[in-house]
Point group: C2
Chain length 205, copies 2
């Protein structure tokens, strides 16, 4: 698919890594190409040898980020046995990422949610791709919920389709609020709520 030599591939990877970081921290519009190429230690001409436009670049970062996220949850799954554990392992992963950004000095919010809101009118391809990514993420959640229902880990009257969408929106909203307030807390609180809702404490009275 990509007939690049190792060196060229490395250049491309540097550009993608720098762009991902800058887009996440400062957004798409506020990130000039000049900043990206300085950060990636690449020149203008070299950049445009690898990407035909800034839009193509951001599309590539979306793919990259979702891929990295996917492999991240794979490893989170490996230490879980039940579907319910996997679900909350996944959400815990998001929390860990947020915490990491916070420790680094700035809560970034969701890479996809941020770009979706910022670029809704700027680029239809970007919008479409983020829509697909959200859909894929929701599918993962739905699947885990279905498995948890099947295994009777959670109540069977929960509608996996509806509830997975609800989780997604609650998580996105929490990331937005935490970013706005520049202090974590809401995402953790939301995950707590979901945990309690799905696994209500045993009635001990």
């Amino acid at each position: 698919m990509t007939p690049f030599t190792p060196k060229a591939q490395a250049t491309r990877d540097r550009i993608l890594a720098s762009a991902s970081e800058l887009f996440h921290v400062n957004g798409y519009t506020a990130t000039g190409l000049d900043k990206i190429i300085v950060e990636a230690k690449v020149t203008k001409g070299n950049f445009y040898y690898h990407f035909k436009s800034k839009e193509e670049l951001v599309l590539a970062t979306l793919d990259l980020q979702f891929e990295e996220f996917s492999t991240g949850i794979e490893s989170a799954f490996s230490t879980s046995s039940t579907a319910s554990e996997k679900l909350f392992g996944l959400l815990g992963q998001l929390l860990a990422i947020e915490q990491e950004h916070f420790n680094q000095g700035k809560i970034r919010g969701c890479f996809f949610g941020n770009l979706s809101l910022e670029m809704s009118t700027l680029s239809e391809p970007v919008q479409k791709k983020i829509k697909r990514i959200f859909s894929e993420f929701q599918t993962i959640l739905r699947s885990l919920l279905e498995q948890a229902i099947e295994a009777e880990e959670i109540a069977k009257d929960i509608d996996a389709e509806t509830f997975s969408a609800f989780i997604l929106s609650a998580v996105e909203g929490s990331l937005l609020l935490d970013k706005t307030n520049q202090e974590p807390g809401q995402l953790a609180a939301t995950i707590d709520f979901l945990k309690t809702y799905l696994n209500p404490p045993r009635i001990t009275r």
Copy 2:
């Protein structure tokens, strides 16, 4: 506070109305001053007579929009008797606004959430103001929840502070998702969930 003649006030109002609409639909950065002044039928010089910068303008639109929203829910409250009704009247108001935008051709999302994500690194005053607005909105929700608990309309083991923040994030996330997908549905689903959660159907068996 503002010693403007009626005519000048009208001009200022036109600018604010046009800017609010354009910021909501296309965002802050994508909305050039030229578009605003054309839409508001005002010239550059006249604009800068009323506002000293684009940032001051967006700060003023934030105040205006929150004010309009507040008066909107006032009237929604007037037809409600219980706190619970008021709460869902308020949420229904948000739903109605989204539906209206959808009918007009484009789901806009939340004015405040959109700008918060887009301008997080662009303007600290804007970020601060949105943070305050969210906080104020949450206070309204918390107050309604407390009243509903007091009146025994909802379960008393609900923590108003925690749950009001949860509602806020779920609503913001739903608006984000509906905007991304450019189709309504999630906000309605989220409100439904909240309704069922707070007012569980009577056990009739």
